[in-house]
Symmetry: C2
Subunit: 376 residues, 2 copies
């Protein structure tokens, strides 16, 4: 019997418990033994919940129980998620998480501590929800030099931009709809200002190149100031606008990384990512262009990724081959203004045109008040 | 030092040796020790080849060398690939392959023999070339009941159909172009008649549901008789035609599996798979819809998948968690004529229309000489 503990009984925590209830036989077959959620740790009260007997407010119950081999951390945020994860490792337990904030901020330390304790730290659910992207990058594409990642990894902003393009509504109206549908929080800043996407691209870059850049050093621009005029100009150019999380590393080894609304041509596969879906395009030196697509958020898809990791941890929890990262020196990052690209310049009359390949630094000097979008 | 042997010095074998030469430092870093191709086994002569010293015609050199822990089987075909693979397992070596024929025909026995010997049998490269699809299905989506797979897994036929739609040429002319470009063989039957795709969907179904159906029992129809009139009718209906490899399993547990040209609506992500690219759409009960895309063939992308598996085998060759399959009883497969679907019926005047959801059996009785395409 594999016994697990779920930390945080919110949307993802509940989804994980539900998935294990529903597909328990299937999971048991894959692991080779039965599985149970033995504890759910949450400080809130859930009187009458069908899992009431498993609920505890005391994390020590989990840490002291030698039967528990896997902890699913779904608390979110950096603290106490970081401390709880470190304690799990020290107690010889593997940790599976959907928490991009703690992975992006503390992934280096956490992977090292897991390795030190001979356990696993797995976070497939931290980027792209249910989309398999962490394991493919870590394993399937491991023999490639990764050249470039262009990703739509925030469903909220993608929904808003899809509404603006397809329904012709303003940012404010699209945001209100997203909030009504539960896709955006009352305070939507982490999504619409690009903070969430910055954490995710920092994680994807760390997997690709082994070095974790603090998301504070990722150039980040959100979608608040996208206007109807921008939308019209994009359409005129055969493009859509997407919040793109980009990371690339060329011959000179400088990391190029940013989150920014970009123009995406309609024949680029990323333009087909609509609504709350996510899509990640990865280029490697041998594999060429690949693309991964699916639901980037929500209880069920995230639980799918979490439970895939749980199965892996149950089968290979003590595997010695887990990746490790080193911290990335921000000096190894190219300034955003110096990243070469084709740009779409929208002049003061709203007239758009594409530039030659250039940099924002060179462009800004001569474009005055024009709106400038990177074309990816 | 991890020492590997490459069996078969054709396109994929050469690509694999080249990749290991080029990215040796990167691969060594991921494995944690250096890697070398110690033997290349091929019956042909390669006088003057830069790897001449590694070439041998005697497979026993590999089997008797205890330093060799991984054999990359790139011979193709069922025999002697099957026998060579079994011998490698008996000698305690893991095997990585790109050979869909041997996996589709003998996967059950080969996985069992690998398990018996405590080694790995890995075949990421056997479906979708460089696209990560086997490992995502086996691991990332392992907690899902897989509902449905719709896949474009043959680049040759996808190139031909793309030419027919985009250039307005006939099947014969598109095939000739594919042959000129080296995308199709002189005898193109395995590709254009759907045999290759049938093997690949049998493999994807086996990973999804643990049972391997002999590809001989997969209903298989190729693209030889697609006409300009079909293309015109599809365009009129807002569709394209793709050679779809389908597998699904519903509540009654009957397997639905086929390879057939199908109508694909232009807003279906599979319609965006053009030229020689491959795309695989997978639906699971928790993850929902996912999609994987990339180069499905060619020396470099295939070598990428092979070497990803080599890294896995080097790190986890003796892992105990590898999957195993059982043979599938063909009686558990629903007859093709009884698989429900919406169809596009093109009447004798070339006029297309969509049906309600029905079966081919019901339709054929009343549609006479009309052309009938399944809509996916």
């Amino acid at each position: 019997m594999v016994s697990i503990a779920v930390l945080g009984y919110g949307t993802v925590g509940k989804g994980t418990v539900d998935l294990i209830d529903e597909n328990r036989a299937l999971i048991a077959e894959k692991i080779g033994e039965d599985i149970q959620v033995k504890y759910i740790v949450d400080l809130r009260d859930f009187a009458g919940d069908r899992n009431e007997k498993k609920l505890t407010k005391n994390y020590d119950d989990v840490l002291n129980d030698k039967e528990v081999s896997i902890v699913c951390e779904m608390i979110g945020g950096s603290h106490p998620a970081f401390e709880f994860t470190m304690k799990a490792f020290a107690a010889g337990k593997s940790v599976v998480t959907s928490n991009k904030e703690v992975v992006a901020n503390f992934g280096t330390e956490l992977l090292a501590e897991a390795k030190k304790n001979g356990v696993s730290y797995l976070f497939e659910a931290s980027v792209g929800g249910g989309i398999p992207i962490i394991r493919p990058l870590n394993n399937c594409l491991a023999a490639n030099k990764i050249r470039k990642i262009d990703a739509i990894v925030n469903g909220t902003t993608n929904f808003i931009l899809s509404q603006m393009f397809e329904q012709g509504v303003s940012f404010a109206d699209a945001l209100a709809t997203a909030q009504q549908k539960g896709y955006a929080e009352a305070n939507p800043s982490a999504d619409v200002d690009g903070v969430d996407a910055a954490r995710k691209i920092a994680i994807l870059a760390a997997i690709s190149w082994g070095e974790l850049l603090s998301p504070d050093h990722v150039y980040t621009c959100g979608i608040r100031d996208i206007t109807g005029a921008d939308v019209a100009a994009a359409e005129k150019m055969g493009c859509t606008i997407k919040l793109i999380a980009h990371a690339s590393r060329g011959e000179d080894n400088k990391l190029q990384i940013f989150v920014s609304p970009c123009m995406v041509k309609n024949d680029n596969i990323l333009s087909t990512v609509r609504d709350v879906f996510n899509g990640v395009a990865v280029s490697g030196d041998f594999v060429g262009d690949t693309f991964f697509y699916g639901r980037g958020a929500g209880s069920d898809p995230t639980a799918s990724a979490v439970c895939g990791d749980v199965i892996d941890a149950a089968r290979n929890g003590r595997a010695k081959d887990r990746s490790s990262w080193t911290p990335m020196d921000p000096a190894a990052v190219r300034a955003y203004e110096d990243i070469e690209s084709v740009f779409c310049v929208i002049d003061e009359k709203g007239e758009p045109s594409f530039t030659e390949k250039t940099t924002l630094r060179a462009l800004s000097a001569k474009c005055g008040k024009a709106r400038i979008f990177r074309l990816i």
